[in-house]
């Protein structure tokens, strides 16, 4: 079988991953709202219903709990459903089926029943959308035993990770950085040599500060690292990819080298994954740390209206400000008192 390589957007890289999954395993099904004729509101499933039939690519009635609940029933019968949630903010009606049913079914049945279900969720902000269309709910799921949580940052990663997620016998929450759907990149449609689903990836080497992030902010982090480099600061950027479990060994190795950690995500600060990463790294690298790990995140407010989202989202400047902080250079909190 020849391997295809082409320039694809991140969205189309997922489309092609889904196409492979559907072609490779006839137990794979796609389920969701508006994923058939419309191809999904982001067109990620575009053409797949035509190609694989309405029996494999199913438009479901408008009820997230039922979409996930019926996917669980299908998994009981040996199917491998891939569910699309239309936007991050619409996953909550399905929360009970995800955390109380999907996550616990294998445990409940002593391993007898597998739940190889992938739930695709376009997430994050930066597209000027109305309420409920820009959220980053990953921490809820990363705190839920029994689930795996994965995200992607480039077309190539998106392609490989969606295929790995679908192939995985555990339930996977697959978060797609919606503002990067239109990012283009080279995609090789091959997963044989891919690194494991659980592994983080060092996407830029550096020596002064470790910058850990994921999903939509990987591009921002790389921009920040480039800017810092011109300022003489060498940032190592890690793309986590897997948010549950977190690949601590990779992060640990980096922090032992740099002695400094900045974590960034769009999700709100309190109880976000930044806390888990900072705490986990501190546990593992206390004696190597030169400064307290810094978090650059959304604030503890509901996602604001579009015209203000730039003030909520961590951008290059806020990340560099935190880099200055861990380096002990003047920064926005210099002299700041409670």
């Amino acid at each position: 079988m020849s391997v295809t390589t082409s320039q694809l957007t991140l969205a189309k890289a997922i489309t092609s991953g889904l196409r492979h999954a559907l072609a490779d395993d006839n137990r794979v099904l796609l389920m969701g709202e508006d994923i058939g004729a419309l191809g999904g509101v982001f067109r990620v499933t575009d053409g797949l219903q035509k190609e694989f039939g309405a029996d494999r690519v199913m438009d479901m009635p408008l009820a997230e709990s039922a979409i996930i609940g019926t996917a669980i029933g299908l998994a009981f019968r040996g199917f491998r459903p891939v569910v699309e949630i239309q936007f991050d903010g619409f996953i909550y009606p399905g929360f009970d089926q995800i955390v109380a049913q999907l996550a616990k079914m294998r445990y409940r049945t002593g391993g007898a029943v597998s739940m190889p279900i992938t739930i695709r969720v376009p997430y994050g902000g930066g597209i000027g959308a109305v309420e409920h269309h820009s959220e980053s709910p990953e921490a809820y799921f990363a705190h839920t035993a029994g689930l795996r949580v994965v995200t992607c940052s480039t077309p190539q990663e998106a392609h490989v990770l969606i295929r790995q997620a679908i192939a995985c016998d555990d339930p996977v929450l697959f978060f797609e950085p919606k503002r990067r759907y239109w990012t283009k990149g080279e995609v090789t449609e091959e997963i044989a040599d891919a690194i494991p689903l659980e592994s983080a990836r060092v996407v830029r080497d550096g020596t002064d500060v470790t910058l850990v992030t994921y999903g939509p902010l990987v591009a921002t982090a790389l921009d920040a690292a480039a800017a810092a480099a011109s300022d003489g600061v060498s940032i190592e950027v890690i793309d986590l990819r897997s948010l549950a479990p977190i690949d601590f060994p990779t992060v640990e190795a980096s922090v032992r080298k740099t002695g400094r950690l900045v974590v960034s995500h769009e999700a709100q600060l309190s109880g976000g994954l930044g806390a888990e990463i900072a705490a986990g790294v501190t546990e593992r690298c206390f004696n190597w740390l030169e400064a307290a790990p810094a978090r650059v995140t959304g604030f503890d407010v509901p996602y604001p209206p579009g015209s203000l989202e730039e003030h909520f989202l961590p951008g290059l400047d806020r990340i560099l400000d935190a880099v200055d902080r861990v380096l002990g250079r003047p920064n926005s909190l210099t002299g700041w008192t409670e």
């Binding site: 419309l38 408008l62 009820a63 407010v301 015209s307 203000l308």
Partner: protein
């Protein structure tokens, strides 16, 4: 037992049969008699009919102007109500000011009737606010975007009206797609159990984005409610008079302590789901043409004409008003600017919050860095 309402007192009847819906004005504009529903609109004067015509025309104009603003990049998104004007105007004009309305995102004509300022309609879609108005000023909550959630709020509000011993009514607006959500069904359970003075007003516009109503329901939507112990009415949603009659029946039941009523207003979403949508991917032109023939405005126009009321004067008045509203809308839109950055921290909590207050002051310090002209 199922039966059509004709000849019955509609307040007592249970629900209509399969093929029927309440219609008082045909698509051609002919007023047809209905012993059950005529009394409910007997008081509508010629002047009021003309005023309804104005409403329909103005809200269509709002829709067109807002769509244009979106195309011009002044709004991020707009959800047109094109085709659903009668369903919204007929029902909203039946309400009292002390009633309270909980809607989804497409109910701009309802908001217009409730007295929401024209500019306030746009705040959500221009990204300057998640709401746009004070619900208590107009007796209408700001739009609920999560499908179906607001039906429970309406039910709870209605329980509150009953507890307070007032005869105000809560009205929940939602779509055909919403009827699949657990929340909407739970709202019916709760409303029935507590005999809540709530009206469930479903605009069946045949589509939920790209999904036809046949994916959501295998029976008429109006048939759902009776199984919950809630009487329902199926009404021609493009007939403003019929919608008003049905809504009045439901409101009257609620005010009299008879509990909830479900109304299915059969209409059609003539436009895209929102300005981001491309309906050519999933539906035929034919369907559109069929429904265009049932247009709510031309229908009322024809009725007025047959009564000699569609005078040049009326036409001119309506046009003038629509032009004025469109101007107001455009000017208001362009005047809406992004609020102060630190307002993102406002109104999260009613009382001081140590975590957030700290974040606000830290972010203020951060922003201050750039004030020196640093960046």
């Amino acid at each position: 037992m199922r039966s059509t309402m004709a000849g019955h007192d509609p307040r007592q009847a249970e629900f209509l049969g399969q093929e029927d819906f309440v219609q008082l004005v045909t698509p051609a504009g002919e007023r047809i008699p209905s012993p059950g529903f005529d009394p409910w609109v007997a008081d509508v004067t010629d002047e009021q009919l003309a005023s309804l015509y104005e409403d329909l025309s103005v809200v269509r104009r709002i829709d067109i102007e807002a769509t244009a603003l979106q195309r011009q990049g002044e709004l991020g998104l707009w959800p047109p109500l094109l085709g659903q004007e009668a369903a919204q105007i007929g029902s909203a004009r039946a309400l009292r000011s002390d009633d309270f309305v909980f809607t989804s995102y497409r109910e701009n004509a309802v908001a217009y009737c409730r007295g929401v300022k024209i500019t306030d309609l746009l705040r959500v879609w221009r990204g300057t606010s998640h709401g746009g108005w004070n619900p208590y000023d107009v007796g209408m909550a700001v739009p609920a975007v999560v499908i179906g959630a607001q039906t429970l709020h309406a039910t709870g509000y209605a329980l509150g009206c009953a507890k307070d011993g007032v005869d105000s009514v809560a009205v929940a607006y939602f779509g055909d797609g919403a009827t699949s959500q657990g929340d909407v069904n739970e709202a019916m359970v709760f409303a029935a159990t507590f005999k809540a003075p709530v009206v469930f007003f479903c605009q069946n516009n045949q589509w939920a984005i790209s999904e036809p109503v046949t994916l959501q329901a295998k029976a008429h939507i109006s048939e759902r409610a009776p199984g919950f112990g809630i009487p329902s009415l199926r009404v021609d949603g493009n007939d403003v008079l019929a919608v008003m009659a049905a809504t009045r029946v439901a409101l009257d039941r609620a005010r009299n302590g008879d509990g909830p009523t479900f109304i299915e207003a059969v209409t059609y979403r003539m436009g895209p789901h929102t300005t981001s949508d491309d309906p050519t991917r999933y539906r035929d032109r034919d369907e559109l043409e069929q429904w265009a023939a049932k247009d709510p405005i031309s229908r009322l126009g024809a009725l007025l004409d047959s009564k000699g009321l569609l005078t040049d004067e009326l036409t001119a008045r309506v046009k003038a008003r629509a032009d004025e509203v469109a101007r107001e809308l455009r000017a208001g839109c362009l005047a809406l600017t992004a609020p102060d950055p630190l307002t993102i921290f406002d109104n999260v909590y009613a009382t001081p919050h140590r975590g957030l207050d700290r974040q606000r002051s830290q972010y203020a310090a951060y922003l201050a860095m750039f004030d020196g002209g640093a960046e």
